[in-house]
């Protein structure tokens, strides 16, 4: 059967880039076929997707070589990006989904039929009247999928659709794609990090390596579980704790209710839970970004509600979920120096901590690079290093492995273990159970505002 799209010998270097990202990548996709593409963070998976979608070189110019041929000539391509926030603009879910078909001058009845089909396929029919701004990340991801399905693409590209969502939401997205293939025969390209899921969903699994695609071998598995990094010793004294913590953003709506959690010296604690369950809300209390509605959060004997965040930053390192939130400096070295300099460290101490954390996180070779030009995985590690460079007693890692491949996960796991060895307390907020299993002695699940112990001694 003639391929629906064939990319041959693609080379691409973005404007300002020193090295090509794609170096002779070739790919053919048959009608109705599903191809999964795996690869390390920053290897060019998103770039390849943009080539297949026709956005490179027309929308994102650069040095481009190679040939992309499609059949039929007016092949319609839909692409769901990694971050759904960047592709939704309408007020309600229904408006968003209807936007695509409206652009093609279809009759109103046809638009309505397509919207109905797409919302059903992506399981967002019950959200039709909801405002986009009020949806969770997982729901937004599904709305983004529906907005592309309503265009009825011949080729659907999903760029890490599960990177920002919890396991049930990810499964729902992949199930919707499976149903769609079965019902309308759309060709699908999925970029993912989960090999097991990729093998389950796709007809072919490819790996992008050094700018080229190759089939993933049977025995080859990027997703070997992380080794256990749990020390045998007992944890030390309590450094930080919440006492019957309650919090709500709106009156009468509690996000946290009666939460008791102690962070102890030399120990890592994982708080697991689905998107939007309140993990980040809990973390923000330790650094004073939020004040409890009821109860207390104590840090080294002080109530965090009474101490400004800037002072708490001497004792708590908080690595936020999005590494782009804080990066601004002209070099990685300067980025890491920002925190310690704010706290009045002498230059000798600043340079020493930079060297140490760059080494622990395997980023020493990036020291003189501009942080904003790095890949997502590299930025994630730099933002972690920047949060830890102030040598805090308590480290809070918010979704530290989101959108990272195994190799980078391992680097983050080593950093968390190093913190424990140094006698720090570590709080990991994640929906990545494998990472929590490898690094954290105690596990809790945050659900409906309450914290439930699922491993280790509850506290």
């Amino acid at each position: 059967m003639a391929p629906r799209i064939a990319a041959q010998d693609i080379w691409y270097t973005p404007i300002g880039g020193e090295q090509p990202i794609l170096r002779g990548a070739s790919l053919e996709i048959a009608p109705g076929e599903c191809v999964a593409i795996l690869g390390t963070s920053g290897c060019g998976k998103s770039t390849l997707c943009q080539v297949l979608a026709g956005l490179i070189p027309s929308r994102l110019p650069g040095e481009f070589r190679g040939r992309v041929s499609v059949r039929p000539d007016d092949l319609r391509v839909g692409m769901v990006f990694q971050d759904p926030e960047n592709q939704l603009f309408a007020g309600t879910v229904e408006e968003e989904v209807a936007f695509g078909p409206s652009n093609f001058g279809l009759m109103e009845a046809e638009v309505r039929a397509r919207v109905s089909f797409a919302m059903e396929a992506a399981e967002v029919t019950h959200l039709a009247e909801h405002e986009i701004a009020t949806l969770s990340m997982g729901q937004k991801q599904r709305v983004a999928l529906a907005s592309m399905l309503s265009v009825q693409p011949d080729l659907l590209i999903l760029d890490e659709p599960a990177s920002n969502v919890d396991e049930p939401s990810a499964e729902a997205i992949f199930a919707a794609v499976g149903d769609l293939r079965a019902s309308v025969g759309v060709s699908v390209v999925i970029v993912d990090h989960d090999v097991a899921r990729a093998r389950r969903v796709a007809d072919r699994v490819l790996r992008l390596e050094e700018g080229r695609l190759r089939p993933l071998g049977e025995g080859e598995d990027l997703e070997q579980p992380l080794p256990k990094m749990l020390p045998d010793g007992q944890p030390g004294r309590t450094l930080a704790e919440t006492e019957s913590l309650g919090f709500g953003y709106e009156q009468g709506k509690r996000v946290l209710e009666g939460v008791n959690l102690a962070l102890r010296l030399g120990e890592a604690v994982a708080v697991l839970g689905p998107n939007g369950c309140g993990k980040t809300t809990l973390a923000k209390h330790f650094i004073g970004l939020l004040r409890p509605t009821s109860g207390h959060v104590m840090l080294l004997g002080d109530d965090t509600a009474r101490v400004p965040t800037e002072i708490l930053a001497r004792h708590v390192g908080y690595a936020s979920q999005n590494p782009d939130d804080g990066l601004f400096a002209r070099s990685v070295r300067e980025e890491l120096a920002f925190g310690p300099r704010n706290l009045g460290w002498c230059e000798q101490e600043v340079q020493a901590t930079i060297q140490r954390w760059l080494g622990i996180l395997g980023c020493a070779h990036l020291a003189d690079r501009e942080p904003l030009t790095l890949s997502f995985g590299e930025k994630r590690r730099i933002s972690l290093a920047a949060a830890l460079a102030t040598d805090p007693e308590v480290a809070i890692l918010d979704e530290p492995t989101a959108a990272l491949d195994r190799m980078h996960n391992l680097a983050v796991a080593h950093a968390a273990t190093e913190l424990k060895h140094q006698g720090k307390a570590v709080l990991v907020l994640t929906h990545d159970r494998h990472f929590a299993d490898a690094v954290c002695e105690r596990h809790f699940i945050l659900q409906s505002g309450a914290l439930r112990s699922v491993r280790g001694v509850p506290c």
């Binding site: 926030e85 592709q87 936020s320």
Partner: protein, 243 residues
């Protein structure tokens, strides 16, 4: 959103935004054309009562009203002092100052209330969509809708970036130094560009550049909306002629 911050929906919420815009424009014209203080006071009272009926003006509206009220003593002082210069006796100065500043305050109040009433009963996105009915280009309507969608996101983003830097010991009081703005402005700029690029690509993939149609057409006016707009314009014309 910016407005629409009230509770229960009323009859006015269901009126097509363009009809309400016509009514609000007529009321603003009244504020300039009517010179009778009593009539201005009556219009302001009526608008105030209607605003209360629809569920209030929201936080932004209350701030605007408070700012207007705070400006009244200043206006009174300015007019009193200006009449003082003409050598008139003190009680006369005070009376004229009070009367003139009161009249100006009422005009301002009518303008503010008319606009607040429009804002409090109109969903901005519906308004953007209804502009299509006046042949405003689809691209402009879409731009307006996009701004309305991304404004709260941008505000949230600035907040998040500020929090991230405070967690690294950044102090707001250092912002008097120009270079201290970099840790805030650079991430905000980058994230905005990133968002804009993502949105542009998403719109392109959904056929926005096809040039066939981009937004649903505005719904046509119903009879009650013609009557509403005509009644408002008629009443305002009458007020202007009488007052």
């Amino acid at each position: 959103m910016l407005a629409h911050a009230k509770g229960r929906p009323t009859w006015l919420d269901g009126v097509e935004p363009r009809a309400k815009l016509v009514a609000a424009t007529a009321l603003v014209a009244v504020a300039f054309l009517v010179s009778s203080t009593l009539m201005l006071a009556a219009v302001a009272a009526l608008l105030g009562a209607t605003l209360w009926w629809v569920g209030g003006a929201g936080k932004l509206g209350r701030r605007l009203l408070a700012a207007s009220a705070a400006g009244y003593p200043v206006a009174w002082l300015v007019f009193t002092v200006s009449y003082w210069d003409r050598g008139s006796p003190a009680p006369y100065n005070l009376y004229v100052g009070l009367h003139t500043s009161g009249e100006f305050a009422l005009r301002l109040l009518v303008i503010v209330l008319a606009n607040l009433l429009f804002i409090a009963t109109t969903d901005p996105r519906q308004f953007a969509r209804s502009l299509r009915g006046w042949r405003v280009p689809s691209e402009l309507c879409l731009m307006f809708m996009t701004v309305l969608r991304f404004l709260p996101l941008a505000v949230g983003e600035v907040r998040r970036i500020l929090d991230a830097q405070r967690c690294r010991g950044f102090r707001m009081r250092r912002l008097w130094r120009p270079d201290a703005w970099l840790p805030l402005t650079v991430p905000v700029l980058i994230s905005t560009l990133h968002r804009a690029e993502g949105l542009a690509m998403s719109l392109e993939l959904r056929g926005f550049a096809s040039g066939i149609a981009s937004l649903a057409e505005a719904r046509p006016w119903r009879l009650r909306e013609y009557l509403f707009a005509a009644a408002c314009v008629g009443a305002c014309t009458l007020l202007a002629l009488l007052g």
